[in-house]
C-alpha cells in the first residue's frame, strides 16, 4: 500500500475509536511531558551553574609558573609540567609573548603582600591584593556596596567586609574615607653594595618603608576570586596597576636573593585571562610549548560535567518511566483494536493485502499516536517548566534574590523528545503489529 493511503487509513482507524485513542495519546503526552519537564530542569540547572561558574572568572583563567629548578614557590602541587620545551624564566619578555597569543585577554602577575594600614589613629595588619581591571565583570563584585575602581590605576581601595568591620562598626560609613597603606618598597642596590646599608641589609636590594594614601570606594561581601594563588584571599583590594607601581616586596622576591641578584625581575607566576572558556585548552597548550608550567580549572570542570551528566541521566530515566508506562497503553489499545478488527484484517488479506501492509498499518497508527502525544507532551512539559520557573522566581523575589532560569527547553530537546516518543510508540506497536499481520484470514473470515 502507498504511504498516503496507509496514513489515510490509519487516521480513519484512529478516528473510529476516538475516545480510546485519544486517551492513549494523552497518556503518551503526559509521559513525554514528564520527560521534558525533568530534562528541562536538568538543562536549566546546568546552564545556571555554568553561568555562575564562568562569572566567577575561574574557568577562563590559566595559572602560569616557571617550570624550574629550583623551588616552585607559587606553583600548585599539581601544576602540569610538560617536558616539551626547555624551561624558561618568567620575565617581562615572556609576559609580552603570552599577551600576544591569540585568545588571550589579559596577563597579570599576582601581587599580594602583607602590610599595615593606618586609619583613624588605629593600625591594622592586613593582606593587600592587586585586582585586575577585568575582574570588574566577574560577578564577584556584583552585589558590592559602593563602586569598582574608577580606573586601573586610581588610588582607591575596596575592603573585604571583615576588614571593614574591623575598621568601623558601620562599614557603610567608610565609603569615601581615606586610609594610609604602609609597606616596604624594594629598592635595587648600587652595583657594589656596602654592608649594613638599610633595613633589608641584603646584597640584592634594600627595603624602604613607604606610604600610600587610598580612598575607600567599595566594600565587597563575597570573596572575589581574581585568579589562582590566593589573590582572592587579600582583604584590602587595590587596582593591579597601583599595586605594580608600589613595587612592594613580596614573599617570592626572597627567591631572587638566593640567585643572581643582577638578573632582571622575574615573576613568580602570572595569571592569564582567556577571552572564552573554549579557548583555554589551546592557549594553555601554547604556553606549555613556550616552556612554562600551567594550570587551569578546566580539569575540575570536567568532573563537574560528569556530575551533571549523571544527574541528567537520572532525571531522564525517571522522566522516561512515565513514557514507558504510557507505551503499554499503546500496546493495550492496539491489541484491543486487533480483536475488534479481526474480520476487517481478514478482508484486507483476502483482497490482496500482504502481511507487511497490515503490519505497516498498525505501525502507522502507533506512530501517529506517538507523534501527536509527543507534540502535545513537549508543549505540556514546556508549560510545566515555565510553571516551575515562575514559582521559583516568586519565591526568590520574596527573598529579594535575582530571578533565575531553572527550566530550559532547547530545540534539540523538543526534536529528540518527539522522536523518542515516536520511537517508543513504534516499539510498543511492534507486538500488536506482528500479531495483526499473522492473523489467519480464514479464521478471521469464518462465517459465524
Amino acid at each position: 500500500m502507498k504511504n498516503r493511503d496507509m496514513i489515510e487509513l490509519a487516521a480513519r482507524n484512529l478516528r473510529q475509536a476516538l475516545l480510546r485513542n485519544f486517551l492513549t495519546t494523552i497518556g503518551i503526552a503526559v509521559g513525554v511531558a514528564s520527560l521534558v519537564a525533568m530534562l528541562s530542569l536538568g538543562a536549566g540547572l546546568q546552564g545556571l551553574a555554568s553561568q555562575k561558574l564562568s562569572q566567577s572568572g575561574l574557568f577562563n583563567a590559566i595559572f602560569v609558573a616557571p617550570r624550574v629548578p629550583p623551588p616552585r614557590f607559587g606553583a600548585p602541587p599539581n601544576a602540569d609540567v610538560s617536558p616539551a620545551a626547555p624551561p624558561r624564566s618568567l620575565d617581562d619578555d615572556a609576559r609580552l609573548a603570552i599577551e600576544r597569543l591569540p585568545g588571550v585577554a589579559e596577563v597579570y602577575p599576582e601581587i599580594r603582600f602583607a602590610t599595615e594600614i593606618h586609619f583613624a589613629d588605629g593600625i591594622y595588619a592586613t593582606v593587600v591584593a592587586g585586582i585586575p581591571n577585568s575582574a570588574r565583570s566577574d560577578g564577584a563584585f556584583d552585589g558590592m556596596t559602593g563602586t569598582f575602581f574608577s580606573s586601573p590605576d586610581a588610588d582607591e581601595a575596596i575592603l573585604q567586609i571583615s576588614l571593614a568591620r574591623q575598621l568601623s562598626t558601620q562599614p557603610r560609613s567608610l565609603l569615601g574615607q581615606q586610609i594610609v597603606l604602609r609597606y616596604a618598597e624594594r629598592q635595587p642596590l648600587p652595583a657594589d653594595p656596602a654592608p649594613g646599608n638599610s633595613a633589608g641589609g641584603s646584597p640584592g636590594f634594600s627595603l624602604e618603608p613607604r606610604e600610600q594614601k587610598l580612598r575607600i570606594v567599595g566594600i565587597v561581601e563575597t570573596e572575589p576570586a581574581g585568579g589562582f594563588g590566593g589573590i582572592g584571599r587579600g582583604r584590602l583590594l587595590i587596582p593591579l596597576g597601583v599595586a605594580e607601581k608600589l613595587g612592594a616586596a613580596q614573599a617570592a622576591d626572597l627567591r631572587d636573593l638566593l640567585r643572581d641578584p643582577s638578573a632582571p625581575h622575574r615573576y613568580a607566576n602570572l595569571t592569564v585571562r582567556v577571552e572564552r572558556t573554549s579557548r583555554v585548552r589551546s592557549v594553555e597548550d601554547s604556553i606549555k610549548q613556550m616552556g612554562f608550567a600551567t594550570y587551569s580549572l578546566l580539569d575540575a570542570t570536567r568532573d563537574l560535567r560528569l556530575v551533571f551528566a549523571v544527574f541528567d541521566l537520572l532525571l531522564g530515566i525517571f522522566g522516561s518511566l512515565a513514557l514507558v508506562v504510557a507505551s503499554l497503553g499503546i500496546v493495550n489499545t492496539l491489541v484491543m483494536a486487533i480483536l475488534e478488527r479481526r474480520r476487517e484484517i481478514g478482508v484486507f488479506k483476502a483482497l490482496g493485502a500482504a502481511d507487511r501492509d497490515i503490519r505497516r498499518l498498525f505501525f502507522a497508527e502507533a506512530g501517529t499516536m506517538g507523534l501527536l502525544g509527543g507534540v502535545f507532551g513537549v508543549l505540556l512539559g514546556w508549560l510545566i517548566g515555565r510553571g516551575i520557573n515562575f514559582g521559583t522566581n516568586i519565591y526568590l523575589a520574596r527573598r529579594a534574590l535575582p530571578a533565575v532560569t531553572i527550566s530550559l527547553v532547547p530545540i534539540w530537546m523538543v526534536i529528540s523528545a518527539i522522536a523518542f516518543s515516536v520511537g517508543v510508540s513504534l516499539l510498543a506497536g511492534m507486538y500488536p503489529a506482528a500479531r495483526a499481520a499473522q492473523l489467519d484470514p480464514i479464521e478471521a473470515l469464518r462465517y459465524e
Partner: protein, 234 residues
C-alpha cells in the same frame, strides 16, 4: 508443469488436513481436477464436505498439506506469502456469504479498497470504481454505507469489489446463502453476466443444486473431502 493459459485452475492430488484431537481431519483429500479458463464452475456438496476449504486453497488464502494447485499455470503451494498476497491482489476476486463489506467505509471506498492495496494511482482508481459500480448497477449508491443497503445491494457491492481489479478468476463462497431466493437469483444472473461478458472464470460454492444447474456449466461434487464427480453439464 507447463503453464497453460487455457486452464484456470488445476489441482493434483490436493490434500488439506487439519489437526483435530489426537488425529487429523482431512477436509480435502486427494483431489485432482481442471477448470478451463472462462468456465463457470459450481462446487457442490453437503455441509462439511470441504467446499470452503478447497475454495480457500484456490484463493491462496490457505496452503495444501500435500499435492499441488495451479492457478493459470503457477503452483500456489510453492509461492511465498508475499507472492500469494500479490496473486490474491491481481488474479483472483472473492465474494463471501457474509458480504464482508467494511461497515465504516462508503460503498465507493469499499469497492476501491483492492485498488489501494494494489497501489494503483488515484485517477485510474476512480475510473475502475465507477466501471465496476456500473456493472453491478450501484452507481447511484456509492456514497452510502453498507448498513444503508439491502442484502442484495450489499452483495452486489461485494461483487463489484471483487471485480474492480479485473481478476481472471472470481471465487464465490455461497454468495446467495444470506439472501432470499429472488435476490439470490439476481446475484446468480449477475455472475453469469460477468462470466459471459468479461470471460472471468467463476468458481461458485453452493449447496443449492438447482441454482447451480441453472447457471454453471461444470459441476464438481465433494463428499467428505473427496471429489466424487467432475463434469461439464451436457
Amino acid at each position: 508443469m507447463p503453464a497453460d493459459d487455457r486452464i484456470a485452475i488445476r489441482a493434483e492430488k490436493l490434500t488439506r488436513e487439519y489437526p483435530m484431537g489426537d488425529g487429523q481431519v482431512r477436509a480435502v483429500e486427494d483431489v485432482s481436477f481442471e477448470i478451463p479458463a472462462g468456465e463457470f464452475a459450481a462446487l457442490l456438496g453437503s455441509s462439511g464436505s470441504g467446499k470452503s476449504t478447497l475454495l480457500n486453497l484456490m484463493a491462496g488464502l490457505d496452503r495444501p498439506t500435500s499435492g499441488a494447485i495451479y492457478a493459470l499455470g503457477r503452483n500456489l503451494a510453492e509461492m511465498s506469502s508475499q507472492e500469494l498476497a500479490a496473486y490474491r491482489s491481481r488474479t483472483v476476486g472473492m465474494v463471501f456469504q457474509a458480504f464482508n463489506l467494511l461497515p465504516r467505509m462508503t460503498l465507493e471506498e469499499n469497492i476501491e479498497l483492492p485498488l489501494r492495496l494494489a497501489e494503483m494511482d488515484r485517477a485510474e482508481r476512480a475510473r475502475r470504481v465507477s466501471e465496476a459500480a456500473e456493472r453491478v448497477r450501484l452507481s447511484a449508491r456509492l456514497t452510502h454505507r453498507p448498513t444503508e443497503l439491502s442484502g442484495g445491494e450489499q452483495q452486489r457491492a461485494a461483487v463489484a469489489r471483487a471485480l474492480v481489479n479485473r481478476p481472471a478468476i472470481l471465487l464465490a463462497d455461497e454468495p446467495t446463502g444470506n439472501l432470499d431466493s429472488a435476490t439470490g437469483d439476481e446475484i446468480m444472473r449477475l455472475l453469469s453476466e460477468i462470466n459471459s461478458a468479461l470471460g472471468t472464470t467463476i468458481v461458485l460454492v453452493t449447496h443449492e443444486r438447482e441454482r447451480a444447474l441453472q447457471h454453471a456449466r461444470r459441476m464438481l461434487y465433494l463428499r467428505d473431502g473427496r471429489l466424487v464427480s467432475n463434469g461439464a453439464r451436457p
